[in-house]
């Protein structure tokens, strides 16, 4: 308490006034209401269907782990999680790579078209994907690719098409965030790099990218979550249910799960788990990434 840093940091003890108690009470109630659906999903997933069908959901008992085993097998979750990885990992890597290149050039050089380019990239991310569906669908249907490339023979119904469309949609947001970050880097670093004879590519790859690690980490966290959660493009561009990523598999499963909500709950918990783990493990990155993009100005 006597050290200067401690006194500077010490928050004055505020009394528990009526207003503060009311605030905490309100927040506690809201939080509880917000957690009910999630906690209830976990609870339902742990219960035997026969038991809840007989005694109702307000009863207690009939706890089991079987729903998880059954949902994993019936839903072919191992395959679906693998599909999600096949789509998400390349899409995120490609998005960050393409976005960081444009952002680098936009931040490094001052051109007339900078603002137009940045605007065009950022706007693309905000367009409703459904409004682009018909041309994308027809375009992918008409692009014929060799069978070793895609079993369907076209970009429709192939992972390549889905990775491409996810990348195309996310590049805008990442370009916007990264170019803001890169503009804040001191210009002098490039001058000394040029004195050393570094090429543009070396300046980008060896100088700028390592300095952008914090924002790249934040964006990677966000993009993994977003593309993993992506539902629309996967559902409409992949017609073969076996190829569906885990997020889109739920619709196909709801038929099989029709009468058993406990099984649906187990499936939902398993699908939610990766994003929730990412959120808790990388909360700082997650929040900073989101606010980086949205609150500048």
């Amino acid at each position: 308490m006597t050290t200067p840093s401690a006194t500077a940091l010490a928050v004055p003890r505020r009394p528990w006034t009526k207003g503060r108690i009311a605030t905490h009470a309100f927040l506690a109630v809201m939080t509880t209401i917000w957690l009910v659906p999630l906690l209830y999903a976990v609870l339902a997933s742990l219960r035997d269907y026969q038991y809840t069908a007989r005694f109702g959901y307000l009863s207690l008992g009939g706890f089991t782990f079987d729903n998880y085993v059954t949902a994993w097998q019936v839903g072919e979750f191992a395959q679906k999680f693998l599909n999600s990885a096949i789509i998400t990992i390349p899409a995120v890597a490609l998005t960050l790579f393409l976005a960081s290149m444009v952002a680098f050039v936009l931040a490094r050089f001052t051109w007339k078209f900078n603002i137009v380019m940045l605007g065009a990239f950022t706007a693309g991310n905000l367009l409703p994907p459904q409004a682009l569906l018909i041309p994308v669908f027809k375009m992918f249907q008409s692009v014929e690719v060799p069978f070793w490339f895609s079993e369907s023979g076209t970009l429709l119904n192939s992972y390549w098409g889905l990775i491409a469309v996810n990348t195309g949609f996310q590049v805008g947001f990442c370009t916007f965030v990264l170019s803001n970050y890169m503009k804040a880097l001191p210009k002098e670093i490039y001058e000394s790099a040029m004195v050393d004879g570094a090429s543009i590519w070396q300046q980008y790859w060896k100088l700028t990218l390592p300095l952008c690690r914090p924002s790249l980490a934040a964006l990677a966290t966000l993009e993994i979550t977003w593309i993993y959660n992506e539902f629309f493009w996967a559902t409409v561009l992949l017609q073969n249910g076996k190829m569906f990523p885990i997020t889109s598999s739920l619709t196909n499963l709801s038929g099989a799960f029709f009468t058993d909500n406990n099984l649906v709950a187990a499936g939902a918990v398993m699908i939610a788990l990766p994003t929730i783990i990412i959120y808790f493990a990388l909360q700082k990155h997650f929040v900073s990434g989101l606010t980086l993009g949205a609150t500048k100005g």
């Binding site: 809201m30 050089f109 682009l132 569906l133 018909i134 609150t295």
Partner: protein, 303 residues
């Protein structure tokens, strides 16, 4: 080598001094990503608009398609049965997010910001739904809303079909979507509130303004950029709402939305490219207005 680098490196000369290899590098670094975005985002956007004025069966070459003027727009507004319900549902969606979910998110953010300490748990829990996909949220709320196995009916002792009854399923979907929207708005405003200069609040307090007055007359106006961002996000999210209603019942029976109708006209039983493109164009026009507002705010510094 040393002689060449002796000249002071100034910003003005930087471009002129670039080697051919560097020029090619820069060009490729811009052109490749631009080509990707142009092919997958901007070309389809323009194509949607063009196709909405043509009668194309989707199989022959597009050059043989017949120009039909505004026929698809007229048909959408007069014959297509899901058009007006979809518009109405999108508007209700927007109104609920705007007048209910967004203010709740703002209120929570203000309270969290004011309390400052011991709020980590509230913050984390309220934000949790935002990391889940809308499709998954549809299934999580099914556990609440299901007619035979849902928690709501078990507690209320009713047999309401929350997701199925066309009179109420839109409201059920709105509860589920608000569950997520509140957390998102809360996070954005928390960041915005942290950016408000404490001296401003202090000055207002010294002038004798109450806390509520300070908020509405000082803090809220100062957050203008974030207000616009939240407004735009609310509008655009209402316009592109899709996943949730698609997992509930593929957007039928009281859950029609513009996004589901566009989708239905291309992946449904019958392909109606012209009509679907007309609906898509309507979405594009509305979103463009908000995108322009958004860009003007977030890119203010760059202008």
């Amino acid at each position: 080598m040393t002689t060449a680098t002796k000249a002071p490196v100034t910003g003005r000369h930087r471009k002129a001094r670039m080697s051919t290899r560097d020029r090619v590098t820069v060009a490729l670094m811009v052109l490749i990503p631009t080509a990707v975005v142009a092919t997958l985002v901007w070309f389809p956007a323009i194509a949607s608009v063009v196709m909405s004025f043509f009668d194309w069966d989707g199989f022959g070459p597009f050059s043989e398609a017949k120009f039909v003027g505004t026929r698809w727009y007229t048909e959408a507004a007069t014959i297509y049965p899901a058009f007006w319900p979809a518009i109405q549902h999108n508007v209700i969606w927007l109104l609920v997010l705007f007048f209910i979910a967004t203010p709740i998110g703002l209120l929570i953010a203000v309270l969290l910001d004011r309390e400052a300490s011991h709020t980590k748990f509230y913050q984390t829990s309220l934000y949790l739904p935002v990391v889940l996909s809308m499709a998954l949220i549809g299934f999580i709320w099914q556990l609440m809303f299901s007619r035979d196995q849902g928690l709501f009916n078990a507690i209320l002792g009713t047999t309401i079909d929350w997701y199925g009854d066309p009179k109420i399923n839109l409201w059920s979907a709105l509860i589920a979507t608000s569950w997520r929207h509140v957390g998102y708005v809360m996070l954005l405003y928390l960041a915005g509130l942290k950016g408000v200069d404490l001296a401003l609040k202090e000055a207002a307090r010294i002038d004798g303004a109450s806390e509520v007055q300070t908020f509405f007359h000082v803090v809220f106006p100062v957050m203008f950029p974030i207000n616009v961002v939240v407004l735009v996000i609310t509008f655009i999210d209402s316009l592109r709402a899709f996943d949730l209603v698609w997992v509930i019942n593929r957007g039928r029976n009281g859950l029609e939305l513009l996004a589901t109708e566009v989708t239905r006209n291309i992946v449904g039983e019958a392909q109606r490219i012209g009509l679907g493109s007309a609906l898509a164009t309507i979405m594009l026009v509305i979103s463009t207005v908000f995108i322009i507002i958004y860009l003007r705010i977030v890119m203010k510094e760059d202008r």
